[in-house]
C-alpha cells in the first residue's frame, strides 16, 4: 500500500521529465511488484475490481519493455538500410562514371567487348589487363576485394537473369 504514492510520484516525475525519461519510465516502474495492483487507484471506465487488476497488470507488463533494445535495434536497422541504399546508389550512379573515365584512358577496342561477353566478365578481364591495377601490388587486399566484388556481381547478374529475364525460378 505504501508503494502507491511511490508509483504516483514516479509517474508524475516521468511526465515532468518526459523529454529524456523514456527508459527511466520503464526501469523505475520495475521496482513495483505486480501484486500491488489491488490498491492502485486508476481512473478507468471499468468498475469491476478484477478488470482493473487485469488492466493494471497489463500496464505493468508494458513497463517491463525495454525500450533500450528498441533504440539499438532501430538504429541498427536504419544504419543497415542507409548503407545498402548508399551502396546501391554507388553501384548505380558513381561506378558507371568511374568505369567510363577509366575506359577513356584505356584502349578503344575494349568498348566493343561488351556486346558479346557478359559485362561482368569483360569487366573482370579489363581489370586484369588494366596496368593501373596489375602493377599496384601493394593494394593486394583491395585487389582481392575487387575480385570478390566482381565475382559477386556476376552471381547477382546471373540471378537477375534467372528471375527477371528467363523467369525460370521464383515466379
Amino acid at each position: 500500500m505504501v508503494k502507491i504514492p511511490v508509483l504516483v510520484g514516479v509517474l508524475s516525475l516521468i511526465t515532468m521529465l518526459k523529454a529524456e525519461s523514456y527508459e527511466d519510465a520503464r526501469c523505475k516502474s520495475n521496482v513495483l511488484p505486480s501484486n500491488d495492483c489491488n490498491g492502485v487507484s486508476l481512473p478507468i471506465i471499468g468498475e469491476v475490481n478484477n478488470t482493473k487488476k487485469e488492466l493494471c497488470h497489463d500496464a505493468l507488463v508494458l513497463m517491463r519493455v525495454e525500450t533500450h533494445t528498441m533504440k539499438v535495434v532501430v538504429l541498427i536497422v536504419l544504419c543497415v538500410i542507409s548503407c545498402l541504399v548508399m551502396y546501391m546508389f554507388f553501384l548505380l550512379c558513381l561506378e558507371p562514371m568511374i568505369r567510363r573515365r577509366k575506359l577513356v584512358g584505356a584502349y578503344v577496342e575494349h568498348t566493343n567487348e561488351e556486346d558479346e561477353a557478359p559485362p561482368a566478365v569483360s569487366l573482370n578481364a579489363r581489370r586484369g589487363s588494366d596496368p593501373m591495377v596489375s602493377t599496384a601490388n601493394s593494394s593486394n587486399v583491395l585487389n582481392r576485394f575487387g575480385h570478390q566484388q566482381d565475382k559477386w556481381k556476376k552471381q547477382v547478374k546471373e540471378q537477375r537473369k534467372n528471375i527477371y529475364d528467363r523467369h525460370t525460378i521464383l515466379n
Binding site: K18, T51, D58, R64, V73, V85, H167, L170, N171
Partner: protein, 804 residues
C-alpha cells in the same frame, strides 16, 4: 604413387578457386579459411570450392589412399559438390559421411587431439543447431521490432524518442487512462499534427492520407530496388524453394548471406509498406539462410549436401517457431510441410533448435507483451457441442476461399511469367503498393497492420475495448449495437480487398509470405460468422440446437466471436497450405489452450477436404509445379502399369553411352565427355559384355581428368583410363580413376514396375538408377525421367521439366 599427386597441391590457377599450395597461394588458402570461420561466406556454395577449415584439410591430406575403392574422393578438389540446378544424390552423400565418420572413429585412439576432434565431430550437429537457434531468434526479434516501428512511421512519429513505435511512445503519456487508445496520446505526433498542427478536419485527413501513401511507396520502392540490385533470390515467400531444396536440389546463392540480409531488410519494408503480405513465410527462408551459412562452420555439414539438409530442416522449424512463437508447431511444420528426409535425429535437433530460437525471441520480447507474436490471445470459455457445425461450416468456407485464392493467384503468376508484365518487376511493385495504400487507408480495418487486424479479430471484447466491433448494447456484451453492424460491413469490404490484393501480391518480386493475409481473410470470415451466431443465440435462445444452454440469462457469454475468428483463420490457412497437424498445433500454441483443438481440427480437416476436392494442390505445391522444380511429391500415388524398360533412357540399348573399365584412352573419354551431355556414365566391363562395374558422375570425371592433366607428368592422349586395380606396368602410364567410381550404384531390372521405381526415388532420394537385363546394362533412369514420366501420366507437358 599415382594417388598421391592428386592430393599434393600443385598450382592450378586455371580452374576457379582450387586451393593451391604454391607459396603465394598458401596464404590465400589460409585467408580463405579465416574468412570462412569468420562469416562463412556463401561464395563457397556458389563457387564450388573446397576451402573448408584447416582440420578437414589436414584430415584429407593425411589419408590419401587409406580407404581404397570406397567413397574417399575428397582429395580431388570439388568432388562431392554439385552444379547449380542439379539434384543431389542422397545415397552417395550419406556414404561419404559414413566414410568420414569411420575415419574419425579409427583415428580416435591415436592421440588426445584426435579424441577431441572426434568429440567435436559428435556434438557439432547440436552445436550448429544451437547457433542457428540463437541467431534466428535474434534476427526475428530485429525484424519484429523494425517492422512495428516502420509500420507506425506511416502514421506519425514520436519526436522525443524517434525509435519508439506508437504503442511504446504512448505508454508513458497515458498513465492517466491506461488505455492504448491511439487518439489520446500526447507524445505521439501524427504527420497531420506536425504539418498542419491539427489532427482533425478534412485537411488533416488528406495530409495523413498522402503521407501514408508516400511512406508506403518509399518502403516498397526501397524493398524492390534492394532486391533487384543485391539479391534477386530474396523475392517471394521462399517456402516452395526451401521445400525443393530440402528434397535434394541445388540453387546456388539461394541461401547465401546477401539473400539473408536483403530478405530481412526487405520483409521489414514490405510489411511496413502495407502490402498484403506477411513475414512468416520469409522467416522460414531467413532461418534456412542462417542454417546454411552457419553450417559452413562445421565441415561435416557444410561440405556434404545431404547432411546440410538436416541442419536446414532444423532451421526451417526454428523459422516457424519464431514466426508464430510456436516451437512445437515449427517442428511439425518442418516435418509435415517442408522436409523430405526427416529421421528421428533431425526431429530432436529441430525440436532443440526451435526451442532455442523461441527462447531467445521471447527473452528479447519484441512486442512488449511477453509473447513472441503480436496476435497472442487467451480464451477461457469452453465451447459447446453444437458449435462444431458452424466450425465445420467455417472449414468449408475456408476451403472455398483458399481454392479461389490459389487458382486466381496461379493464373496471375503464369500471366506474369509469360507476358510483358514480367519485364517490369519494380513498376509492378510500386503500382500495387499505390493501389493497396489508396484503397486501404479509408477503411480502418485495412489501414492498420494486418497482424494488428488479426489480433483485433481474435481478441474478445472486454471493458477496455472501444472498437466498433465491441459496440454491444447491453453490459453482458451479447446484443450487438449499430457499431458492430458497421464494423461487419467494413470487415466484409476489408475481406474483399485483402483477397483481391493478396492474389496480385503473392509472387511480386519482393519478399512476401501468405500466412498473415490468409489468417486475416479467415479471421474476418470467422468473426462475422461468430457475431452472427452470437446474435442468433441472443435473439432466439430457445432454438433446439442451443439446447437451452446458450443465450439464456446467465449464459450470455457462451459464444466467443474471437474463437470463431481463430477457427476461420485456421481453416483458410489450412486450405491454402494444406497443412493439418502443424497448423492445429501452431494455432493452439497461439491461444495457449488445448481446449480448442477439436474445433480447430474439425475446421482444418473440412477445409483440406474441400480444398482437395476443388483443386488438386496447395499453394506451395502449385508454385513448385508452376516453376517446374524437380520435386518428387511423396503425397501422390501413381497407379500405372509401365515398367522400368518403358521409361529408361536411351530407348535403344545401342545408343547407351558408357565407359569401359580398362579399355578407353584419355582421348576417347574426353571425346565422350564432349559429345554427350549426360550427367553421369555407367562403367561396364566391356562394350560387348555390358556387365556393369559402377557409375561415375560427369562432374567428378571432368574434375579428375583436369586435375590429372595438371599433376601427372607424361600423360598422353593415348594413356588408358582405368577404373580397376591393375598392378602391372603399362606404357604410357595409365590414369587410375577408381576412387571416383561409385561401385555400389542402385540397379533395377528392366521388368521393375514404375511404382516401385518411383518409390525408390522418393524414399532413397536417388538421383539415378541403372537398368539391367540378365545382369547386362540396358539404360539409365534419372530423376528427370521420373518427373517427365509423372507429368506424362498427369497429361501435362513433360518438357516443362527443366532442371536436372
Amino acid at each position: 604413387m599415382e594417388n598421391l599427386p592428386l592430393t599434393s597441391n600443385v598450382r592450378k590457377n586455371d580452374l576457379p578457386n582450387k586451393p593451391s599450395t604454391s607459396y603465394q597461394a598458401v596464404k590465400q588458402v589460409k585467408k580463405l579459411t579465416e574468412r570462412n570461420v569468420g562469416i562463412s561466406s556463401d561464395d563457397d556454395m556458389i563457387d564450388i570450392t573446397t576451402s573448408g577449415t584447416m582440420t578437414e584439410r589436414t584430415l584429407n591430406q593425411r589419408s590419401p589412399i587409406n580407404l581404397p575403392g570406397s567413397g574417399e574422393t575428397e582429395d580431388i578438389p570439388g568432388i562431392g559438390q554439385y552444379e547449380d540446378f542439379h539434384t543431389i544424390d542422397w545415397q552417395r552423400d550419406i556414404a561419404r559421411d559414413r566414410m568420414r565418420h569411420r575415419y574419425i572413429l579409427r583415428r580416435k585412439k591415436n592421440s588426445f587431439i584426435d579424441l577431441i576432434k572426434s568429440a567435436h565431430d559428435a556434438w557439432s550437429g547440436w552445436l550448429c543447431v544451437l547457433l542457428v537457434g540463437l541467431v534466428t531468434g535474434t534476427v526475428a526479434a530485429i525484424i519484429d521490432i523494425g517492422t512495428s516501428w516502420m509500420s507506425d512511421l506511416k502514421f506519425g512519429i514520436c519526436p522525443q524518442a524517434f525509435w519508439l513505435n506508437m504503442e511504446q511512445c504512448c505508454w508513458s503519456s497515458n498513465e492517466t487512462s491506461f488505455e492504448l487508445d491511439k487518439g489520446n496520446c500526447s507524445q505521439w505526433f501524427y504527420w497531420s499534427e506536425i504539418m498542419t498542427s491539427s489532427n482533425y478536419g478534412p485537411f488533416a485527413y488528406i495530409v495523413s492520407y498522402l503521407f501514408y501513401i508516400a511512406w508506403a511507396l518509399l518502403f516498397a520502392a526501397l524493398a524492390a530496388g534492394l532486391v533487384r540490385m543485391f539479391a534477386p533470390y530474396a523475392c517471394g515467400s521462399g517456402v516452395p524453394e526451401i521445400k525443393t531444396i530440402l528434397s535434394g536440389f541445388i540453387i546456388r546463392g539461394y541461401l547465401g548471406k546477401w539473400t539473408l540480409l536483403i530478405k530481412s531488410v526487405g520483409i521489414m519494408m514490405c510489411v511496413s509498406a502495407g502490402l498484403s503480405l506477411g513475414k512468416e513465410g520469409p522467416m522460414v527462408h531467413i532461418a534456412s539462410c542462417i542454417g546454411n551459412i552457419l553450417s559452413y562452420l562445421f565441415p561435416k555439414y557444410g561440405r556434404n549436401e545431404a547432411k546440410k539438409r538436416e541442419i536446414l530442416s532444423a532451421a526451417a522449424a526454428a523459422g516457424v517457431s519464431v514466426a508464430f512463437g510456436a516451437p512445437i508447431g515449427g517442428v511439425l511444420f518442418s516435418l509435415e510441410e517442408v522436409s523430405y528426409y526427416f529421421p528421428l535425429k533431425t526431429l530432436w535437433r529441430s525440436f532443440f533448435c526451435a526451442l532455442v530460437a523461441a527462447f531467445v525471441l521471447s527473452s528479447i520480447n519484441p512486442f512488449g507483451n511477453e509473447h513472441s507474436v503480436m496476435f497472442y490471445v487467451e480464451y477461457h470459455r469452453p465451447w459447446m457441442f453444437f458449435e462444431l457445425i458452424p466450425f465445420i461450416g467455417l472449414g468449408i468456407i475456408g476451403g472455398v476461399i483458399a481454392t479461389v485464392f490459389i487458382k486466381c493467384n496461379i493464373k496471375w503468376c503464369r500471366f506474369r511469367k509469360t507476358s510483358i508484365l514480367g519485364q517490369y518487376p519494380v513498376m509492378e511493385v510500386l503500382l500495387l503498393t499505390a493501389v493497396t495504400a489508396i484503397l486501404s487507408y479509408p477503411n480502418p480495418y485495412t489501414r492498420m497492420g494486418t497482424s494488428q487486424l488479426i489480433y483485433l479479430l481474435f481478441s474478445q471484447c472486454d471493458v477496455s475495448s472501444n472498437d466498433g466491433l465491441c459496440d454491444y448494447t447491453n453490459d453482458k456484451a451479447n446484443v450487438a449495437g449499430p457499431g458492430v453492424y458497421t464494423a461487419m460491413l467494413l470487415l466484409s469490404m476489408a475481406f474483399v480487398l485483402k483477397l483481391v490484393t493478396t492474389i496480385f501480391t503473392f509472387g511480386i518480386k519482393v519478399p512476401c509470405g501468405l500466412f498473415i493475409p490468409s489468417l486475416a481473410m479467415g479471421g474476418i470470415t470467422g468473426r462475422i460468422v461468430g457475431i452472427l451466431m452470437q446474435q442468433l443465440a441472443a435473439k432466439h435462445p430457445h432454438l433446439w440446437f442451443f439446447d437451452n444452454s446458450c443465450g439464456l440469462p446467465g449464459q450470455e457469454g457462451c459464444i466467443t466471436p474471437g474463437l470463431y475468428a481463430m477457427v476461420g483463420a485456421a481453416a483458410v490457412l489450412g486450405g491454402v497450405t494444406r497443412m493439418t497437424v502443424s497448423l492445429v498445433v501452431i494455432m493452439f500454441e497461439l491461444t495457449g489452450g488445448v481446449r480448442y483443438i477439436v474445433p480447430l481440427m474439425a475446421a482444418v480437416m473440412a477445409s483440406k477436404w474441400v480444398g482437395d476436392a476443388l483443386g488438386k494442390e496447395g499453394m506451395y505445391d502449385a508454385h513448385i509445379q508452376l516453376n517446374g522444380y524437380p520435386f518428387l511429391d511423396s503425397k501422390e500415388d501413381i497407379v500405372h502399369t509401365a515398367l522400368a524398360a518403358d521409361v529408361m533412357q536411351p530407348r535403344r540399348a545401342e545408343n547407351l553411352n558408357v565407359l569401359t573399365q580398362s579399355s578407353m584412352s584419355l582421348e576417347d573419354t574426353e571425346i565422350l565427355l564432349k559429345d554427350t551431355e549426360h550427367n553421369g556414365f555407367p562403367v561396364v566391363v566391356s562394350r560387348e559384355s555390358q556387365y556393369l562395374v559402377g557409375y561415375v558422375l560427369r562432374r567428378d570425371l571432368q574434375l579428375a581428368l583436369e586435375n590429372a592433366k595438371r599433376t601427372i607428368d607424361g600423360l598422353l592422349p593415348e594413356s588408358l583410363v582405368l577404373f580397376t586395380d591393375i598392378t602391372q606396368q603399362v606404357m604410357p602410364p595409365p590414369l587410375k580413376l577408381k576412387k571416383i567410381l561409385d561401385m555400389a550404384p542402385i540397379t533395377i531390372t528392366d521388368q521393375t514396375p514404375m511404382e516401385t521405381v518411383v518409390d525408390m526415388f522418393r524414399k532413397l532420394g536417388l538421383r539415378q538408377t541403372l537398368v539391367t537385363h540378365n545382369g547386362r546394362l540396358l539404360g539409365v533412369i534419372t530423376k528427370k525421367d521420373i518427373l517427365r514420366y509423372i507429368k506424362q501420366v498427369d497429361n501435362e507437358d513433360p518438357s516443362s521439366v527443366l532442371f536436372h
